[in-house]
């Protein structure tokens, strides 16, 4: 598992990368009450805001970590946004993105580097 500085986790399976948010991020957000997912088969560019998350406190975004095509989204989150708080690094993945170069995931943070980043 790799991490972004924006509190996303990434898991690669071949050229498809599953993306979610970290436990730390879900705790900071508080109770999640709304999730809007990207449309399937859309091409996204690194940095695009493709997911909206609303908690009881505020709205925030998840950005695409890499260029690629959205090949799967987790519809379960739309019906049960609280999954993001219950199991952020498991059942509450957000989307799967097919990328050109799966090795580019290696540039992201390791778990230890992410822990340093959030001061743990």
């Amino acid at each position: 598992m790799k991490f972004t500085e924006d509190h996303e986790w990434l898991v690669a399976d071949g050229d498809v990368i599953t993306v979610g948010i970290t436990q730390h991020a879900s705790e900071q957000l508080g109770d999640v009450v709304f999730v809007e997912l990207p449309e399937l088969e859309t091409q996204v560019a690194k940095g695009d805001e493709i997911v909206v998350i609303e908690s009881v406190k505020a709205a925030s975004d998840i950005t695409a970590p890499l260029d690629g095509e959205i090949v799967e989204v987790n519809e379960a989150l739309v019906n049960k946004p609280a999954l993001v708080n219950e199991d952020p690094t498991g059942d509450a993945w957000f989307f799967k993105i097919k990328v050109e170069d799966p090795t580019s995931i290696d540039d992201f943070l390791t778990e230890d580097e992410y822990k340093d980043h959030i001061g743990e």
């Binding site: 508080g30 109770d31 009450v33 709304f34 809007e36 909206v52 609303e54 009881v56 406190k57 709205a59």
Partner: protein, 370 residues
């Protein structure tokens, strides 16, 4: 106010809040507990089912002498003279254009009037009062706690048996462990409950005694806002401002009959012509409850339209978010009064027009002990 943001004041019970695991945020010049371990939604649901203890010591507490009624009536459209001892009324300071400077509670104490005003408006309110009323005494050594929820009566009665007999908007003084508590049966959640002013020196022991009851959890500002939103209660600065008349804000009920046209003391408060005109002839805007049909919350600032392609908004969301007891998003909005009450409307969120239904307020029924 800017000083307050950079260097917020600590509440008298700050150490207790930290011990209880509070997260703090700066609010109106104070460092305030925004949530504890249960989280905003858990605290909200706990308060609706049991009892929640809120520290609202940031609010301003003011005493006026017994002969200040007429002077206060010159600032608020409330029947102050008709307020009986042991009772409390809700009101607001109005401005010359018929808007609102702050909303407040006015209680008749044995020796005068006891006012509670919003923290953000406290200094301005005190200046305003001092300019018009003799003998304004700002209370600086008392904390203010609120105990809210269906089990609040049983919890407080275990410490102060006489509190159980109080009715909604009663205001009484009761002793506890040698301290004098000024208790009103009121609150800001839509639930039954009490607001308790007490000496700072007694606040920690009293709060711990209340929290020792298994039915009580500490509740932060986050849930305070979602509870009041579901209860349809206006927040000063959002639903009530210097540019919104109390009639537009849906608060005309607080304007005493005696202060209205035809009453013995009609008018005589700032903006009376505009405000009484709004009562007589209708106001240009009205406050409404909105239930978004989807799941996306609509927060303050969202523009409201009559159709998916209408060019000009007919109003704006003043407060909005997720209502845990409603189980979906809820919003308050100020809209053009000409809008038909049954019209389906649209709020624009992230460039999309999302359907909303106008809904009678409150979203969650009030449970006051009338």
């Amino acid at each position: 106010m800017m000083d307050g943001v950079s260097n917020p004041k600590a509440l008298p019970l700050a150490a207790l809040h930290a011990e209880l695991g509070a997260k703090f945020v700066p609010f109106a010049g104070w460092s305030m507990p925004v949530q504890y371990g249960l989280g905003v939604m858990g605290e909200h649901n706990w308060t609706r089912a049991h009892a929640g203890l809120f520290d609202v010591s940031h609010m301003g507490q003011v005493l006026l002498p017994g002969d200040a009624d007429a002077a206060l009536e010159a600032l608020v459209p409330v029947d102050v003279l008709g307020l009986a001892e042991g009772r409390q009324r809700y009101g607001f300071f109005t401005n010359d254009t018929g808007g609102v400077l702050d909303d407040l509670m006015i209680a008749r104490a044995p020796d005068g009037l006891f006012l509670v005003v919003n923290a953000a408006c406290r200094d301005a309110d005190i200046s305003h009062l001092r300019a018009h009323v003799e003998g304004v005494h700002v209370v600086t050594n008392r904390a203010l706690l609120a105990l809210q929820g269906p089990e609040a009566e049983a919890v407080l009665a275990a410490l102060i048996p006489d509190a159980a007999a109080m009715r909604f908007m009663d205001s009484q003084r009761h002793g506890w462990a040698g301290a004098e508590l000024w208790i009103s049966r009121s609150g800001y959640t839509g639930e039954d409950g009490f607001e308790i002013s007490l000496p700072e020196a007694a606040a920690d022991a009293f709060a711990r005694a209340v929290l020792a009851d298994d039915r009580v959890e500490p509740i932060g500002l986050g849930a305070r806002d979602s509870l009041r939103l579901e209860a349809g209660l206006p927040l000063y600065g959002q639903e009530m401002t210097p540019d919104i008349s109390p009639v537009e804000a849906g608060q005309a009920w607080a304007i005493g009959k005696v202060r209205r046209d035809g009453g013995d003391r009609a008018g005589g408060f700032p903006g009376a012509e505009e405000i009484l005109g709004h009562i007589a002839n209708g106001a240009p805007r009205r406050r409404v409850g909105l239930r978004p049909e989807g799941r996306a919350p609509m927060r303050a600032g969202v523009e409201v339209f009559t159709s998916e392609d209408a060019h000009t908004p007919i109003g704006t969301v003043t407060s909005g978010g997720f209502g845990p007891s409603v189980g979906g998003p809820v919003a308050l909005a100020l809209i053009d009064a000409a809008t038909p009450p049954d019209a389906r409307l649209f709020g624009e969120v992230r460039g999309k027009r999302l359907a909303v239904t106008q809904t009678p307020l409150p979203f969650t029924p009030h449970d006051y002990n009338r």
